[in-house]
């Protein structure tokens, strides 16, 4: 296997050819915030939090979806990137209705973690207070659209790992929302196997099990990766 060497924030790292920049950053013992990325799912590069600067390139590159190339010099934490990340998180908070104190995922929410990491405690942008609903039609799980950040992890895990493709994104632009089936109540979509994977990977409190109340949701985002390894490489790593 050939190896690529590159520099991340001044550290030299070597990774197998074909690795992503995100893997290179992790190999260097560093991290960048991510929300839409999840090991085991195809990348979509939608949340734009993992953007990094690459010397010699004008464009910022999403670490989760860019292949590392030989000799790259990347910066993951410049003042410019910090500013952009903070604004992105503010935009997330302003476009939905996130009342953390009452959320099932309080304390175990990736959006909250990222907000803390980028130093955001309130959004400078006016909150848009959209009218969104809660779908509690499934016997075991619920979807609260108010907390959805459209990362599409649920769509991908259900399609790529479970193979049920219950979810998809409907509409476009700021009207986008996650739908089950033909925009039906989740409980009516018979393609759902109730496997719970979408709930496990949801980074926020949007998808949760009904028995969870405030701050009781404990997701398992690592399961997607474990399942994919098991299926594709016959390796069970739990």
């Amino acid at each position: 296997m050939s190896v690529i060497t590159l520099q991340v924030d001044g550290h030299d790292v070597a990774v197998p050819a074909g690795s992503t920049l995100l893997q290179a950053i992790q190999a260097a013992g560093l991290s960048v915030p991510t929300l839409c990325h999840l090991d085991g799912l195809d990348p979509v590069a939608a949340c734009r939090l993992c953007l990094v600067e690459v010397e010699g390139s004008q464009r910022l590159l999403p670490a989760c979806a860019s292949e590392a190339t030989e000799g790259q010099v990347i910066h993951t934490d410049t003042a410019q990137l910090q500013g952009y990340r903070r604004m992105a998180v503010e935009l997330f908070f302003a476009e939905g209705n996130h009342v953390c104190a009452f959320c099932v995922a309080n304390g175990d929410c990736e959006l909250q973690d990222v907000a803390v990491a980028v130093g955001m405690d309130h959004s400078r942008f006016p909150y848009q207070d959209p009218q969104r609903s809660v779908d509690a039609s499934h016997p075991r799980f619920s979807l609260d659209h108010n907390r959805c950040i459209l990362c599409t992890r649920c769509v991908r895990v259900c399609d790529q790992i479970e193979g049920a493709h219950v979810w998809d994104v409907a509409e476009r632009g700021s009207d986008c929302r996650i739908v089950a089936g033909l925009d039906q109540p989740w409980g009516e979509v018979d393609a759902c196997t109730s496997c719970g994977k979408c709930v496990d990977v949801c980074p926020t409190g949007a998808l949760f099990a009904k028995e969870n109340t405030t701050a009781e949701k404990h997701p398992h985002p690592e399961r997607a990766h474990q399942l994919r390894r098991a299926r594709e490489q016959q390796q069970w790593i739990r």
Partner: protein, 546 residues
């Protein structure tokens, strides 16, 4: 060109393209045909006698593509012994008089004909004189619904020659030498793109024509599709040969029904003539082309979104690399070019790459088609060498403001572009110069803005467009444009504080730098360019309350 050399037997060319149709070309064409068939009103017997006695004197009335001066439509050109005369805005009632004139049977001279008075258009005016038709060579001359006319006018000659005489590499060499750059907005060197596709590992390849033309106020591609579709098909076939593709798609926006109809007809005719399909023109080259119709999504003009849409998916862009040239339709290397780019290919092969490269400016070679609209006297289509100054296009050719006022600014590049103030009209139109001013060449729409329009309103207009057209995939564009629109509302209503303007600029920078695709990356451009050139109009209110 619109004017043809003098010819003995008169003919009438009536524009049958969308622009003129919306101004009443349909009834006019019918009236002209009826008059030509039935004879001059009032003297039917004389004409009947004449047509039977002298079959050669029958008057041909043809439906052709855009005759350029769309704003004065419907347009009719009369080609006769004295050259071409052009008429605009003729009502169907005027048809008989024009037919009588064209037949040389009118009792009064042309100048004295009251039905035609005021409809004559000057073909010597700069609007026509300064045009350099290459891509539009056949547009307005051939009947787009008849392949025989396209062929008689040189259509498919280059495809035949290329298949017999040139290797794919030789074709690509000519395109490289021509210096042709993509006309879809980005200006990427076409030869380089073709090489990238051709040099991928062996396997299936596709060629795709981007005919999504979504920039409001742009109608260049539509004119090619409606006026000379065979030129596009020829260019596409040559491109497919050059990169080794045997399957292709033309993706047209659904809002262009006439273009779709004519394109489908052209494909059918070309297949019939053995110019598409298996063993083209007696060679071993095969090519199947299909039309795919969009469904109303501006973002599908973005190449990766377009590919998703052809595959029957939501038209959301994806992160590049890999570029479509490496992994496009169903993962296969795919060449995507704009309509105008592909339509320039036949002339490049006919005249040679070097000949083409000698036209235009240093880094932008050849000609470019622009559609002129907005606060301008001559709304229509112009094809000029790259590097022509904006002033020449807008003021000299376009005739400036219709009410005689001064032009305030010119918007180029649609929602991705910017506004260039009147003071900078001497800028040459080419990719680099427009970028340097914070605008973009875009696909070629030029909308002239008059003194009465406030620039923050223009910026808000485009931002509303971007909000409406964002695909919603990435957060800076999906949520950022909504916030930008709200800030622009405050600017338009003159409630913006200095802090608002600061927030506006900061958010513009963030959306531009972090959005996933060109739509979001360029959405702030109209704001940034108006802030740059017309900042006084944003006039922050010092200390105004929130």
């Amino acid at each position: 060109m619109v004017a043809l050399p003098p010819r003995e037997r008169s003919q009438l060319r009536c524009c049958g393209a969308s622009g003129c149709r919306s101004a009443g070309a349909g009834p006019l064409l019918a009236a002209l045909r009826a008059a030509a068939a039935a004879g001059v009103a009032g003297e039917p017997s004389a004409i009947a006698a004449l047509t039977t006695a002298e079959p050669g004197s029958g008057l041909e009335v043809r439906s052709v593509g855009c005759l350029r001066l769309c704003g004065q439509g419907p347009l009719v050109a009369w080609d006769g012994p004295e050259g071409t005369r052009l008429f605009g805005g003729l009502p169907p009632e005027g048809a008989a008089a024009l037919v009588a004139q064209a037949r040389g049977l009118a009792p009064i001279p042309l100048q004295a004909e009251p039905a035609l008075a005021g409809h004559r258009l000057d073909l010597e005016q700069p609007f026509f004189r300064l045009q350099r038709p290459l891509v539009l060579e056949g547009c307005g001359i051939v009947d787009p619904e008849r392949i025989e006319e396209a062929i008689a006018h040189g259509g498919y000659a280059q495809l035949r020659r290329v298949l017999q005489e040139l290797s794919p590499e030789q074709v690509r060499e000519q395109v490289r030498r021509s210096g042709l750059r993509g006309r879809g907005g980005g200006g990427y060197p076409t030869g380089l793109k073709w090489d990238t596709v051709a040099l991928q590992p062996p396997g299936r390849r596709y060629v795709v024509c981007n005919a999504d033309e979504g920039d409001p106020g742009a109608f260049m591609d539509r004119s090619v599709l409606e006026g000379d579709p065979h030129r596009l098909l020829e260019g596409m076939a040559i491109a497919a040969y050059a990169v080794g593709a045997d399957h292709g798609y033309v993706y047209v926006r659904a809002e262009y029904p006439l273009a779709i109809e004519r394109l489908r007809l052209a494909l059918q005719q070309a297949r019939h003539q053995g110019l598409l399909g298996q063993g083209i023109a007696g060679s071993s080259f095969n090519l199947e082309l299909e039309v795919r119709v969009g469904a109303g999504a501006y973002v599908c003009g973005e190449e990766t979104a377009l590919l998703h849409s052809i595959q029957g998916q939501r038209g959301t862009p994806r992160s590049r690399p890999p570029y479509p040239a490496q992994a496009g339709l169903w993962g296969a290397p795919t060449l995507i070019n704009n309509v105008e780019t592909l339509a320039a290919v036949p002339v490049i092969l006919r005249q040679g790459g070097d000949w083409y490269a000698a036209i235009g400016s240093d880094k932008s070679r050849g000609t470019k088609v622009f559609s002129l609209s907005g606060a301008i006297r001559h709304t229509g289509l112009v094809e000029v060498p790259m590097g022509t100054s904006l002033r020449t296009v807008v003021e000299i050719m376009g005739g400036g403001d219709p009410d005689g006022g001064a032009v305030k600014a010119v918007q180029t590049g649609g929602p991705s572009g910017g506004c260039i103030p009147a003071a900078l009209l001497d800028t040459p139109v080419d990719f680099e110069s427009l970028l340097a001013l914070g605008s973009m060449m875009g696909s070629g729409g030029m909308v002239v803005i008059g003194q009465g329009t406030a620039m923050p309103e223009v910026a808000r207009h485009f931002m509303a467009f971007s909000v409406n057209e964002s695909c919603g995939k990435c957060v800076p564009c999906r949520a950022g444009t909504v916030q930008l629109l709200a800030l622009l509302d405050r600017c338009v209503e003159r409630r913006a504080t200095a802090a608002d303007l600061e927030a506006l600029e900061a958010l513009c920078a963030m959306v531009k730098a972090t959005s996933l695709c060109g739509l979001g990356q360029a959405a702030p451009n109209p704001v940034l360019s108006t802030l740059r050139h017309f900042r006084q109009e944003y006039g922050a209110v010092p200390g105004a309350g929130p």
